[in-house]
């Protein structure tokens, strides 16, 4: 009787704890925002700046998140090495950019600059796709029917392998991306401060996401992808080559990540072998926030996360007098990950997998 009572008490304290957790988070957000806003340290222009910055970084997260979400949808595994695929794309783009800069093409005029970016993205996509297909073949395919943690551990291994392969190939130093002069210039608009690079990032991300959405929803291959993520066995019975569909999914996700790598590098102007790690985890967060397995969800989640980490530190924390709140940007992102996992594991738009599959 006593033991039962202890168990019940533990149960009650657990749910009490979870409620307290919720309330604390809500209090921090609400009170922090109220304090920051009433102090009025920041002008409307600053908030717009932050929001635009969040839009750019968020669309990059969204692009990476697509790869996580598609692979999860089809295999039910977290492709931990996806961040490194993104980093590989950034490196591919770097070498393309160096070549173009040496040829004098990069900064010839705005048109060649734009063309250069297209070439860089194409190279990055090729590099990322090749790597992703190799990783799938070597590290994931043999483990397809193993318990959930086995492919995850293998993916973590692949992630470290890729990071330190790049470190070996290219050294531990930081590579400065060649400057594309046009992109650094401001867009001639009077009411907001905006660089061309932000426009480029957001527009190309949107174009690629739209393309991907059409690809998944409208093409035959896309239909096959959706069929395989519904039910592999039935899809195989219908004559779909499941292995090929899975490889295609990895390739498409990797292409998006490769493109994101170039866009990221154009924004932040420097890369090194560890560049992919944190954006990778954050993009996974974005995929979870949007509802993993859900393609529009990944896009929404990416934007949401981008805004949260761009505006969040200033809005929620500055009011409390937290020194240099921007250091805590990643803390907000990871806290969000935990919050979503705990309180709404199906994400904003809902997980596509149903109960009997999960």
């Amino acid at each position: 009787m006593y033991a039962r009572w202890v168990e019940r008490l533990t149960d009650a304290s657990i749910s009490g704890f979870l409620w307290a957790f919720r309330i604390v988070i809500i209090l921090v957000v609400v009170v922090g925002s109220a304090l920051t806003l009433t102090q009025g340290k920041y002008s409307v222009a600053t908030w717009i700046d932050l929001a635009l910055n969040g839009l750019s970084i968020g669309s990059i997260y969204a692009l990476i998140a697509l790869g996580y979400t598609m692979v999860y949808g089809i295999l039910g595994m977290i492709n931990f090495a996806h961040g490194e695929i993104f980093m590989a794309g950034a490196f591919g783009g770097y070498f393309a950019a160096v070549g173009l800069a040496q040829a004098g093409f990069l900064n010839l005029n705005p048109l060649t600059a734009l063309l250069s970016v297209v070439i860089m993205i194409a190279v990055a996509m090729a590099v990322s796709t090749t790597l992703a297909v190799l990783v799938e073949r070597i590290a994931y395919r043999p483990l397809r029917n193993a318990p959930r943690l086995v492919p995850l551990i293998s993916a973590i291994g692949a992630s470290f392998f890729l990071q330190y392969t790049f470190r070996g190939f290219f050294g531990p130093g930081i590579y400065a991306y060649p400057a594309i002069d046009v992109l650094g210039q401001a867009v001639p608009l009077s009411f907001i401060r905006l660089r061309w690079v932000d426009v480029l990032v957001v527009v190309s991300a949107l174009v690629m996401m739209a393309g991907l959405y059409l690809f998944v929803m409208r093409t035959k291959v896309g239909t096959a992808i959706r069929a395989v993520s519904e039910d592999k066995d039935i899809a195989a019975l219908m004559g779909i080559d499941v292995n090929r569909v899975i490889v295609t999914t990895f390739a498409v996700g990797a292409a998006m990540a490769g493109a994101a790598g170039v866009l990221y590098a154009l924004m932040f102007r420097q890369i090194f072998f560890f560049t992919g790690f944190v954006p990778g985890i954050k993009a996974f967060t974005a995929a979870v926030v949007g509802g993993i397995g859900n393609v529009p969800g990944a896009m929404l989640g990416g934007l949401f996360l981008g805004e949260a980490e761009s505006i969040g530190p200033t809005l929620f924390l500055d009011g409390f007098g937290v020194p240099s709140p921007n250091q805590l940007r990643d803390v907000i992102a990871f806290t969000m990950l935990v919050l979503v996992l705990v309180f709404r594991p199906s994400g904003l738009l809902g997980e596509r997998v149903t109960e009997h599959k999960a």
Binding site: A139, I153, F161, T165, F170, V342
Partner: protein, 572 residues
């Protein structure tokens, strides 16, 4: 899995026997070029095995040729001549890839892209001849591949002694420097000078080692010690085992005293990781919870000890170490409860990422301006005293005492884990690891049971962190890194989940060896990556799995078991 693989192999062999050989050769070539470009060959070349002749770098690249030769011999059509030809062919193809690398590299400078494609590398591959010697790797590859194939056709009574001779040359070559220094002062100084140069074996020493190792193996196989021991009655076997165990224990206890200096720092660190490995083994090995945020609790423990003991700027109590260390474990445990409660209801793979997030959150907080006024940020908490106050130069000075403390704590953790393994909680953990839905339907409260495993793991991480801060004498935010978590996870996965000797072996190889050989340490995470993938593919139960898992995976499958999950359920 293996059967299916060999079946596929047979199928390809019967289709194009020589096609398979060429593929193996190409694969060897890719591996060899990779080893060069990733920098392993040039970096390892700085560590000679046989002084003035062969370096570890050469060995690494030779292994690529040897393996392709060996695999090619197995794919070749029957017959020894064919096998050797196949081996030589595969080795030659692998070597030609390197020759191509030399030619391309000498003609076009690719260093703008590949940092390691330098003249140093080409000199290494051509033994200093540059472009003119581009044929050398191809010929060497053919010779090595052929030799490997030839060895593989020998009967095992000849093959095994040869292999053991080679392995001993490599091992003694690696440890030559370490062995030589203490030997020089003793009665063995003549032997030391004869066998060891300052950097590797002397050529004569190598020959002696090779011959002696072959002799010993042949002798051992003659006497058939293993079979004899196996035939002995259990009581006598135990009687033989006990002195061996005592001897082993003695070696472990006097190890740091006899080697001193840098070496004792390394063994102390390895012992610390053994302790943390045992801790995570409860969480991951028994309960199957992949905790990638181990460093969070390590940090809590380290900062707790730092704050409570340091007489410096940020210290708050100036307690002795012994008063502070229980708090390190307890506070880490409380953090484990605090962080674990919300997330332990979620699925295993999500849990792993969420814990990774915790690790990062704590890392960022430790270095942030927000906590700088209490934790010192990047400058950290300094002057953390050693647990036992002894004059410098005494046996227990410096890292040695930490080594013993870590060992004692590791033994304690192992004891706790062993006791729990046999209790209803241990069974509940394993049940959750095996099938959490069924475990719950049997009346096990998942969150409470998992929480306990998570909290115990956290407590031992805190203990490890506390001892770490005493070992280093300070705790700074840059010590709180993701790689602490990854190290511990890798130790357990490579060593074998749920296995105590596995954790020890894992810690020695993954922590001790890279610390001893700096050249290895820059490629440590590359090896982790390869090791994790390879372990998951070929031995998901680890190198030294716990008894029960091994029994499960290696008893011949005479009965079809429809209800049992497939191989690899260990990690599930």
């Amino acid at each position: 899995m293996t059967d299916a693989r060999s079946a596929v192999m047979v199928a390809t062999t019967t289709r194009h026997p020589w096609g398979g050989v060429v593929r193996v050769g190409l694969l060897g070539g890719v591996v060899a070029v990779y080893l060069c470009l990733v920098g392993i060959v040039p970096t390892f070349a700085e560590r000679p095995l046989i002084s003035g002749a062969i370096s570890l770098g050469h060995t690494a690249i030779a292994l690529a040729a040897v393996f392709s030769g060996y695999l090619a011999a197995r794919r070749a059509p029957a017959g020894n001549v064919q096998a050797v030809t196949a081996g030589a062919l595969a080795g030659a193809i692998a070597g030609s890839a390197l020759a191509l690398l030399v030619v391309v590299g000498e003609v076009v400078d690719v260093r703008a892209v590949m940092l390691q494609a330098s003249p140093v590398l080409y000199d290494l591959l051509t033994f200093g001849m540059g472009l003119a010697g581009f044929w050398i790797p191809a010929v060497a590859g053919a010779v090595l591949g052929g030799a490997a194939a030839a060895v593989s056709t020998l009967p095992s009574s000849a093959r095994l002694p040869l292999l053991s001779g080679l392995v001993w040359v490599v091992v003694l070559g690696l440890f030559a420097g370490l062995l030589r220094t203490p030997m020089l002062t003793g009665a063995l100084s003549g032997v030391a000078r004869f066998m060891f140069a300052s950097d590797g074996l002397t050529p004569i020493g190598a020959v002696v080692t090779f011959v002696v190792a072959i002799g010993a193996t042949v002798l051992q196989r003659r006497v058939l010690i293993r079979q004899r021991i196996a035939k002995m009655p259990a009581a006598r076997r135990r009687a033989l085992l006990a002195p061996a165990l005592v001897a082993g224990l003695l070696v472990v206890l006097v190890l740091p005293l006899s080697l001193g200096g840098f070496f004792s720092q390394v063994v102390a660190l390895a012992a610390l990781y053994v302790l943390m490995g045992f801790g995570l083994n409860i969480t991951l090995g028994l309960a199957g919870l992949l905790d990638l945020g181990f460093v969070a609790f390590f940090a809590v423990g380290a900062y707790t000890v730092g704050l409570l003991t340091s007489p410096g700027e940020f210290g708050i109590a100036q307690w002795p170490f012994w008063a502070a260390i229980p708090f390190a474990a307890l506070i880490a445990m409380a953090f484990g409860a605090f962080l674990g409660l919300p997330i332990l209801g979620i699925r295993g793979d999500y849990l792993a990422i969420a814990t990774l997030g915790f690790g990062e959150i704590i890392r960022i907080l430790a270095g942030s301006d927000l906590l700088k006024q209490w934790l010192g940020g990047p400058r950290g908490i300094l002057n953390i005293p050693k647990p036992i106050d002894v004059p410098p130069g005494s046996l227990l000075a410096g890292p040695n005492q930490i080594y013993y403390i870590a060992l004692a704590c590791a033994a304690l953790v192992a004891f706790v884990a062993w006791r729990l393994r046999g209790s209803r909680l241990g069974r509940a953990w394993i049940a959750i690891r095996e099938d959490e839905d069924v475990a719950q339907a049997l009346g096990i409260d998942l969150v409470q049971t998992k929480l306990l495993a998570y909290m115990l793991g956290a407590a031992f991480a805190g203990l490890g962190g506390g001892i770490f801060s005493a070992l280093v004498g300070s705790i700074v935010s840059s010590s709180i890194q993701l790689f602490v978590s990854i190290n511990v996870v890798a130790i357990i996965i490579v060593g074998g989940m749920g296995s105590i000797p596995g954790v020890v072996v894992g810690a020695v190889f993954l922590i001790g060896v890279p610390e001893l050989f700096r050249e290895l340490s820059s490629y440590r995470f590359l090896f982790y990556g390869i090791a994790l993938i390879a372990m998951m593919r070929y031995r998901p139960e680890g190198l030294l799995p716990s008894r029960i898992v091994r029994r499960e995976l290696h008893v011949p499958d005479e009965v079809a078991s429809p209800g049992a999950p497939a191989n690899g359920s260990v990690a599930g």
